[in-house]
């Protein structure tokens, strides 16, 4: 093995990819969602009449920008929720089939 190859091998060992902590994903997604909520609230509170004054146009415009940034976060959160839903769907299916069996038994006993 040449010296350069040895260095490259060591570099591969040294720079192992680092998994981001779970808390980071949660924080990132939560932060975006909070920004979206805040932006939505600000827009909701804004009376249309205030829009007649051009001096007031900056704040809602900023809120729209923040809201659009945060929307990405919402997508991420939604994606995560769907993932969680998928994980729990197996349990739900089991629960449902157990309920079906119980209903069926009950019907037969009554019959």
């Amino acid at each position: 093995m040449s010296e350069a190859e040895r260095v490259e091998r060591l570099l591969k060992l040294a720079f192992t990819p680092v998994e981001p902590p779970e808390a980071l994903s949660d924080r990132l997604e939560r932060g975006l969602t909070e920004m979206a909520d805040a932006a939505a609230d600000e827009l909701a509170d804004w009376e249309l009449s205030a829009m007649s004054d051009p001096r007031n146009w900056v704040r809602p415009a900023a809120a729209v920008v923040v809201g659009s940034v945060a929307a990405g976060g919402l997508v991420l959160v939604r994606a995560r929720q769907q993932q969680k839903k998928r994980h729990s769907s197996g349990l739900r299916a089991l629960e449902k089939s157990l309920r079906d069996v119980a209903d069926d038994l009950e019907k037969r006993l009554r019959g």
Binding site: E3, L10, L11, L13, A14, P21, V65
Partner: protein, 182 residues
């Protein structure tokens, strides 16, 4: 209606980008900054800024992968981090990532000292050489991607990486010789 569809498509694409490269951005930030706390902040800021400019970046990418663009954002933010706080890049990592490497324990113990030597050598490299090595070895980026992330030509990037490895080689050789003499 079209706007809604565009927005949905954009959000979907951004979600894919986020999922595919969260680890890349975090690894880059961690090796660049040297501690988990600031690496988390840098990663967060990178994705926030990426989302703000995602539409334009996607339009201008002509279908090319967006990872170099994402890493370039992290690279610029890291540069600001050092400039604003008058910090120098750090050598010491919070907990050496090599601990979590998938290699066997025996191999790790044997190679550990050498790996630490290499990391020490990397910390003494000029910033651009260090960055190129992080991108190549932590993120497994090729020369073209690294060139785009660093805003250089492919040829210049190839030379940059070659010189970085050469410098490390010389440093390790000097270390070996010093070890033999003592």
């Amino acid at each position: 209606m079209d706007e809604v569809t565009d927005k949905q498509r954009l959000d979907r694409d951004f979600t894919e980008l986020y999922r595919a490269h969260l680890r890349d951005v975090y690894s880059y930030a961690y090796y660049r900054i040297g501690n988990h706390h600031d690496a988390e902040d840098l990663t967060e800021q990178t994705f926030l800024q990426a989302y703000r400019h995602f539409d334009r970046a996607q339009r201008e990418s002509n279908g090319r992968p967006l990872r170099p663009w994402l890493i370039r954002i992290a690279h610029n933010l890291a540069a600001n981090y050092y400039r604003d706080r008058s910090r120098r890049p750090v050598t010491q990592l919070d907990d050496a990532a090599i601990i979590s490497a998938p290699q066997g324990t025996e191999e790790m113990v044997e190679g550990r000292e050498e790996v630490m030597e290499v990391l020490k050598g990397v910390s003494e490299l000029p910033d651009d050489r260090r960055e190129a090595l992080i991108m190549r070895f932590a993120l497994d980026m090729d020369n073209r991607e690294i060139a785009r992330a660093l805003g250089r030509s492919e040829g210049a990037t190839k030379v940059l990486i070659h010189r970085a490895i050469k410098q490390l080689e010389q440093g390790l050789e000097a270390g070996d010789e010093a070890g033999v003499e003592t």
